[in-house]
């Protein structure tokens, strides 16, 4: 118990760190500046700003804004990125409530009831409940991370290469099970990601692999390049197809009366609680995350409700539960990343990318060697949530105005912004071209119903998996049964196999499809 407090204390210490700023024009007087809080604030603001833009999801937002954190010190950069992530998510729900165009998959269900509420002139309470629910969920999740962080790290240190490999297999299987659409296609995307991660030089021998003597490929495909291409550019091209303006149905009334009524609060308390619990659990699971959490929370609320017919017609429970769940999941999904070093979903994969760029290899060692980094980030999550609550409600008016920006002006801006961002990573024009190629690949994938998110996950896990596989087999002297004879590894593999079998079973498949279909009718 004492550990938790001292750790959180350390974290808040980092977040509230003041840096003395002595500008020349003040003649030697120094002003203390809370740098990390400012970064968190800027991150949350910018994240919301981009996340609000219709058609731009969380992954795209984080990918797009990655470059602006490169110049910062690692702690600051990660705090800012976390802020961007929450901001983007909150922005996504604002868009779903006000325009009925969910910016990201996670807020699809929020749009169902949120938009109906907005149509009835209750956009204010809907947005407020979303913010309050998210904040509550955020608080719970922060505490949960603090509690689980240390013991999981200890567990992780007991892991050998075989266990790590099995855990990653499990994570990828989870990602498949929880993904939308065809299981086969999701697995194919993961394997394609693994294959793409092989490009570049071999870790052990240094041999150049599949690089065709192109110097820019010698170090492998850039992670930021791939992410921005697949999510930034591809999304833009796809949105252009959809025609942009025609189907945007903005709530025209002024958003008035932000505060929810007493009845709203009473009605939404149990959904917020249930959503938080469900979201926290689903977030920790590898492959889980915000999307599945909000779908599941909505389905659960509808099941337990005494008036299920009200759902889809502006029930406040239908906003409260998924919003709390997706925020809780968004945060608890940091747990596997920070303790085990394994990103459970595509956004966390981006976080790994960012960490690697700053020279940090995520994993249990980070928790021990750079505690200020990990705990600072955890504390910043809570601060970030508080900021979202404080800044977003008064700023709703601005976000609404932003929604009126026509797509014809928005998309060239995003193209340029992404291009400059990618170029600035390595000052390499080739990276920009590569991102463009991945943009077209991503467009093709979307057209053929392949989800690009598992690809990103595979791409990040690829080198880790290969390294651990090689090491495990080296230690076992080439004996493949090592994954089944070591107890911990065997358990993980068994769960993975069981899950895969379950997904293929027709009854469970139906259930799984049902959860996702919910949004379409």
């Amino acid at each position: 118990m004492g550990d938790i407090f001292s750790n959180l204390g350390l974290g808040f210490g980092v977040v509230f760190q003041f840096v003395q700023w002595t500008p020349a024009f003040l003649g030697g007087t120094s002003i203390p500046i809370p740098v990390n809080i400012l970064l968190c604030l800027i991150g949350a603001l910018v994240g919301t700003l981009v996340g609000v833009l219709p058609g731009i999801g969380t992954i795209a937002t984080v990918a797009m804004l990655l470059p602006i954190t490169f110049g910062l010190p690692p702690v600051g950069a990660l705090i800012m990125l976390a802020g961007i992530y929450y901001g983007a998510q909150y922005g996504g729900s604002t868009t779903s409530i006000l325009v009925n165009i969910p910016g990201e998959a996670g807020s699809v269900v929020t749009a169902l009831d949120g938009f109906q509420m907005a149509k009835q002139g209750r956009a204010g309470p809907a947005l407020a409940i979303a913010a309050i629910g998210s904040f509550f969920a955020g608080c719970v999740a922060t505490v949960l991370i603090a509690i689980l962080g240390a013991p999981l790290t200890k567990l992780a240190l007991a892991f050998g290469p075989a266990e790590y490999f099995s855990l990653m297999v499990l994570g990828l299987i989870f990602a498949v099970v929880l993904a939308k659409g065809s299981v086969l296609k999701a697995i194919a995307m993961i394997v394609l990601g693994l294959l793409l991660s092989m490009v570049g030089s071999d870790i052990e021998t240094g041999a150049s692999r599949m690089a065709f003597n192109i110097p820019e490929l010698a170090d492998g495909l850039g992670f930021a390049t791939l992410a921005m291409g697949l999510f930034g550019f591809a999304e833009i091209i796809r949105n252009l197809d959809a025609g942009g303006e025609s189907d945007r149905e903005l709530v025209q009334q002024k958003v008035t009366g932000l505060m929810p009524t007493r009845k709203d609060m009473i009605d939404s308390t149990p959904p917020i609680l249930r959503g938080t619990v469900l979201g926290s659990i689903l977030g920790i699971l590898p492959g889980g995350g915000a999307v599945i959490a909000s779908f599941a929370a909505y389905t659960l609320e509808k099941k337990v409700s005494r008036t299920p017919e009200k759902f889809g017609r502006g029930a406040i429970q239908g906003v409260a539960a998924p919003e709390s769940a997706n925020n809780a999941a968004a945060q608890t999904s940091f747990i596997p990343l920070l303790t085990l070093g394994i990103p459970p979903n595509a956004v966390m994969a981006l976080m790994v990318g960012a960490m690697t760029i700053h020279g940090i290899v995520p994993g249990p060692q980070v928790m021990q060697k750079q505690p200020e980094l990990v705990w600072g980030m955890i504390a910043s999550m809570w601060v970030g949530n508080l900021m979202l609550l404080i800044i977003n409600l008064p700023l709703v008016g601005i976000w609404v105005r932003l929604l009126r920006v026509p797509y014809r002006l928005m998309f060239p801006s995003i193209v340029i912004f992404c291009s400059i961002g990618i170029y600035s990573v390595n000052n390499a024009p080739t990276d920009v071209i590569l991102a463009g190629v991945f943009g077209l690949v991503g467009y093709w994938l979307i057209k053929h119903d392949f989800e690009p998110a598992p690809l990103l996950l595979g791409m990040v896990l690829g080198p880790l998996m290969e390294e651990n596989l090689r090491r495990a087999l080296l230690i076992s002297r080439g004996d493949w049964s090592v994954f089944l004879t070591r107890p911990l590894s065997a358990v993980l593999m068994a769960i993975a196999a069981g899950l895969l079998v379950l997904t293929v079973l027709p009854t469970l498949r139906k259930k799984r499809d049902e959860v996702f279909v919910e949004s379409e009718n």
Binding site: I236, R408, S413, H448, D449, F450, R477
Partner: protein, 166 residues
Amino acid sequence: MNATPGQAPVKSIMPKWVRNPQDFVGGIAMMAIAVFALWASSDLQGMRGFSFGAGTAPRMFATLLLGLGAAITVVGVLTEGQHLAKYHWRGPLFVTLSIVSFALTIRSMGMIFSALTSFLIAACGSPETRWVETFIVGVCLTAFCALLFPYALGLPLQLLPTFMIR
């Protein structure tokens, strides 16, 4: 996004026995990528005793992808599914041109020139573009980026064309 299933397959180029062209083509593409990767990694060393060579893992994953691609293709033949989605050429073409133009000019012409040009090229991607408005926004955005990246974020970006600096 996707072609609605109800649409009549008027000009389907797929033979009749392919019941899910989207998956069929997708699976074949995955197999093609896998074969390409197998070829590209064929010059790498394989297993040495029980330790992996540089080429082992890539070939392993490529083989796996080949199998998965084949499975998707088979599923595409056996199950009913969606027709090939319609591709639009305008958006992808101009966005790609804009990206290429940026990559080619950034080194020699500096950010201000290449960002503005690329902005205008990208804007051709939508039939709704109004030029005066687009131009103003393009100039404002370029100015914003010119302040944000080199000054606020401290990234080393060259703003002006090389010939103007020398």
